[in-house]
Amino acid sequence: MSGYVRRAWSVVWKDLLSERRSKESVNTLVFFSLLLLFVFQFSLGPDRARVETALPGLLWLGFLLAGLLAFGRTFLVERENDCWEGLILAPGDKSAIYLGKLVGNVLLMAVVEAVLVLLFALFFSLDFTSVLPGLVLVLALGTLGLAAVGTLFGAITAQLRARELLFPVLLLPAAVPVLLASVSATQTVLLGEPLAQAAPWLKLLGAADLVYLVVGVLTFEFVLEA
């Protein structure tokens, strides 16, 4: 077991290290989030009430769009310099690689989400501090679900011709329940209602996360083959 965790961690570490040196994903995605804010503002108009009503949906639309960019790239770096062969040749259970990539994606999304929430608070003068613990819980559960499917489908589409077309077409319908549950739970949290109100949604998110994780762990070895 410890060997399994170590192998997963070495994938996380490798990706964090290369990200720290290149800063490709983080820089671009943070900038992308800023752009999204403008897009939302322009498409909804100056009326503040409309932004506030649509806020849970807007937040998740932002995360989803950022996620489509981030998750689709997960395995693209591995296509260069025969890295893919390196992953296949790595000893032990291949699902450790999946979990490592998944953790990397969740960390990346955590940064993007923190920035986007901060930008929303700043530009629309909203105060999230009182609802922060609930919000963090919903974001964590929702992001895990998105990333679990996104990482798996990212690996599937990495080798394809029209991957940037196919990846969203596969991910979006699969992500419908996560999106519905996350938006609804976020709405409950942002309205300042007790977290128990959102309990069915949080349970559904938990169940969805579990199912996606299990499918991902069990099937990843078949995806990774050449």
Binding site: V149, L152, F153, I156, T157, Q159, L160, R161, A162, L166, V169, L170, L172, P173, A174, V176, P177, L180, A181, S184, P200, W201, L204, A207, A208, V211, Y212, V215, T219, F222, V223, E225, A226
Partner: protein
């Protein structure tokens, strides 16, 4: 040839189904003749579920055994499955216009059926983009398994989503308890659709086998 016999049985069943739907089944009191679209709508969705169950079985079977036959089963079930889901949505729309006054409403069942349709269209698109048979079968199997595992999650999320927004919807067109002639007509049509599906499945499997032999 058993496949051809299956085809003729399906034709026979469909003719009997149409005759029963228009000649035998009574005119529904509330909705009138429009209700007869149910004899297309309900069998189509039941057949679609059968098809997607077979996609799941074929996908798991392929990953476990790596035998091409399982992959052919998944493919041959997925294509008619998407068609039958499309028929379900289209016939439901046509039924909805006169009874609910709208072609589409974001009702729980409508939405989850539409999501199902999108998932398996994505599945077929993915298959179309990979040329190498083993790689295509593996990728499709993973997407097929996740798609099926997702069905209950989609179902509950969409159901709660509607329930939490709108407690009582106007939907619920089924007259209950269903009268015996209506139930019998439904059964005949369901049987006919299942036979038709099995015929399409057999034919599509055969075509896939010939395609593979041709590619070798």
């Amino acid at each position: 040839m058993p496949v051809r016999a299956l085809g003729w049985l399906a034709v026979l069943g469909l003719v009997a189904g149409i005759v029963a739907a228009f000649g035998y089944a009574p005119r529904e009191v509330m909705q009138g003749n429009v209700q007869r679209i149910m004899y297309l709508h309900v069998p189509a969705v039941l057949t679609a579920y059968l098809a997607f169950a077979l996609v799941f079985i074929g996908s798991v079977g392929y990953l476990l055994t790596r035998r091409a036959g399982w992959d052919r089963l998944a493919l041959a079930a997925a294509e008619p499955g998407v068609i039958f889901t499309g028929i379900t949505i289209a016939s439901g729309s046509i039924w909805g216009k006169p009874t609910w006054g709208t072609w589409w409403t974001w009702d729980a069942r409508l939405t989850s059926t539409a999501v199902l349709f999108l998932v398996y269209v994505g599945y077929l698109l993915l298959r179309g983009m990979i040329d190498e048979p083993d790689r295509r079968a593996r990728a499709a199997a993973v997407v097929g398994i996740l798609g099926t595992a997702n069905i209950p999650i989609v179902h509950f999320s969409v159901k709660w989503w509607r329930a939490l927004h709108q407690p009582a919807t106007i939907l619920g067109p089924e007259p209950s308890p269903i009268a015996a002639p209506i139930a019998l007509t439904l059964f005949v049509n369901w049987l006919a659709f299942t036979l038709l599906f099995l015929y399409l499945l057999a034919k599509r499997t055969e075509i896939a086998r010939l395609e593979e032999r041709h590619a070798e």
